[in-house]
């Protein structure tokens, strides 16, 4: 446990030691700043009510950022250790595979949470400058953040698995992007499927409609369970992938 904290701190610090973290941060804030501008614009047009948060958490921009950020944030976690050979010093230290995978995953997740922190300013700004008494409801806002955390946590776990399996960073990034992209687009089949049953089945995994629900303040336990269990599955697979060198 003690060395787990050491590892987690190192993983989180590693983001700030590479330029990539700053690039991702700038990209993230630019896109969300633009989203926020659109949101303000929509508010000026007329009272939009609870759907305001959907501008932030359900927009195309939200998905673009997430689909790009997750592979970029996770691609180097294991691949870099493999190319530089530090995986050997790491795994011959008294650490467990589970500890290493969890430290790397939580390091990435912590960075992801840090990315979101500045967006809290948007709510504060609206409160301070809007003539409306309550321009944003707390419920949809918390729902939106919860949704972003759940979906992000799942996407990052896919990235950790890809990095544990892949040999090269680019391979890991492409594999992760492809995997979460497929998952993302599977949700759209809900609109395309002919039979009722298929439509319902696809709706269960539609990230887009999950996020729209969350951003309305509707927290359904079904998507929560879906993302939590998928994340756990990915991390379990990642631990196995790191252990795989022991089977060769």
């Amino acid at each position: 446990m003690k060395n787990f904290l050491t590892l987690w701190k190192k993983e989180l610090a590693a983001y700030f030691l590479s330029p990539m973290a700053y690039v991702v941060m700038i990209f993230f804030l630019l896109v969300f700043g633009f989203s926020f501008w659109l949101l303000v614009h929509a508010l000026v047009e007329g009272p939009a009510g609870a759907s305001v948060m959907q501008e932030l958490f359900g927009s195309l921009f939200f998905w673009i950022v997430l689909l790009v950020a997750a592979p970029v944030l996770t691609m180097r976690l294991f691949t870099e250790e493999k190319t530089t050979g530090t995986i050997e010093t790491l795994m011959t230290a008294p650490v467990t595979e589970v500890g290493v995978v969890m430290a790397k995953y939580l390091g990435a997740l912590s960075f992801y949470v840090i990315l979101w922190i500045p967006t809290a300013a948007y709510g504060i700004i609206l409160h301070a400058f809007s003539p409306l008494t309550a321009p944003v409801d707390l419920g949809p806002m918390m729902g939106g953040y919860l949704g972003a955390l759940l979906v992000g946590a799942f996407y990052l776990s896919v990235g950790v698995l890809c990095s544990a399996v892949a040999v090269h960073q680019i391979m890991a990034a492409v594999a992760c992007f492809a995997a979460i992209g497929v998952f993302f687009f599977t949700g759209f089949f809900a609109f395309l499927a002919r039979s009722e049953a298929a439509r319902d089945a696809f709706a269960y995994v539609s990230s887009v409609s999950h996020m729209l629900d969350f951003a309305r303040g509707v927290v359904d336990t079904r998507p929560v369970a879906l993302y939590v269990s998928l994340t756990a599955l990915m991390l379990f697979a990642a631990v196995r992938a790191v252990e795989a060198r022991r089977w060769k």
Binding site: K2, N3, A14, T84, E88, T89, M91, A93, R246, K248
Partner: protein, 316 residues
């Protein structure tokens, strides 16, 4: 300290380590010698718990490397080939991270890091970024990392690979100094290194241990006979016949010529010394003599005779 019994490691389509058994006692400094691809690194990786063996067992300090892997890893300092490090970290940062990872308490951490930096000649390098360090300094950081939790056993894989001659000497001296407090197993394909630092040599070839002895003893065992070299100025035929007539001399081979001087290689019977007789012969005939010495088998020759390949040569 280390007990390896019938250790075998198979990779897809090749046997890297083949039924290897050996023991290393506490306090020993053992050189693990073999050509590239002989199975050195694989054996060391099994001992450091990075790879599992296909069959056989390995114990370090009484703990099995597979079942009690964490206990073993707490007790060893392992330096992989090429000393892999995180290039974006500073030396102090890295050493502190590694110390904490290996269970050094926060209170002792700063002191331990300072200590190993002093020992490895990194006193002034603490603030430097690892990626900008020279090869020699990186190797020292790797060694410092090995030592930071004060392990009982050091496993060093080619610790002098890629260093310049001055750095090689520094690293060897450091290893010699460490030998007073730690058991050391180091692999190399450089023979003088083994003679310089190790009290015992394990020679591995094609995954099998072919010899295990002190460098001096190995030489003794393989000495086929006493070989002497002499340079004498005199009529070549006469000198040769004179030398051949000496007692204990098996054969004489004239070698290169340098003006009036000619070099002769003399094979003597096992355990004899023909040098006094050669001197007397030259003195009696009034032939000037400018060199007379006994030649010993070098470790290189021993190596070749044991493995059938020259050191550093890739296995076919």
């Amino acid at each position: 300290m280390i007990r390896v019994t019938h250790l075998t490691k198979r990779f897809a389509g090749c046997v890297a380590v083949d039924d290897v058994s050996f023991r290393i006692e506490p306090g020993e400094v053992v050189g693990f010698l073999g050509v590239n691809g002989a199975g050195k690194t694989t054996t060391l990786r099994i001992l450091s718990c990075y790879l599992p063996a296909t069959s056989g067992t390995a114990e370090v300090a009484g703990f099995d490397v597979f079942r009690d892997s964490l206990e073993v890893r707490r007790r060893i300092g392992y330096l992989p080939e090429n000393a892999p490090l995180y290039p974006e970290m500073r030396v102090d940062e890295y050493l502190r991270f590694r110390a904490r990872l290996k269970g050094v308490s926060p209170a002792a951490c700063r002191r331990r890091v300072q200590e190993v930096k002093d020992r490895c000649g990194l006193k002034d390098a603490g603030r430097r970024i690892i990626g900008q360090l020279s090869r020699g300094y990186r190797q020292r950081v790797g060694l410092a990392d090995c030592l930071v939790h004060d392990p009982e056993l050091l496993i060093l894989d080619e610790p002098t690979l890629g260093l310049d001659p001055a750095q090689v000497i520094q690293v060897r001296e450091l290893i010699r100094a460490l030998a007073r407090r730690h058991t050391i197993l180091l692999s190399t394909h450089i023979l003088p290194e083994v003679e310089a630092v190790c009290r015992r040599v394990l020679i591995i070839n094609r995954g099998r241990i072919v010899a295990s002895d002190s460098p001096g003893q190995l030489r003794e065992n393989l000495q086929s006979g006493a070989r002497a070299v002499t340079e004498i100025a005199g009529p070549a035929d006469e000198v040769r016949r004179g030398l051949e007539a000496l007692p204990d001399v098996r054969s004489v081979r004239p070698d290169e010529e340098d003006g009036p001087w000619r070099r002769y290689l003399i094979e003597g019977a096992h355990g004899t010394d023909v040098r006094p007789a050669v001197f007397e012969l030259a003195a009696r005939n009034g032939w000037p003599l400018r060199e007379l010495r006994q030649e010993r088998n070098t470790l290189e020759e021993i190596f070749v005779s044991l493995t059938g390949t020259a050191p550093g040569e890739k296995r076919p």
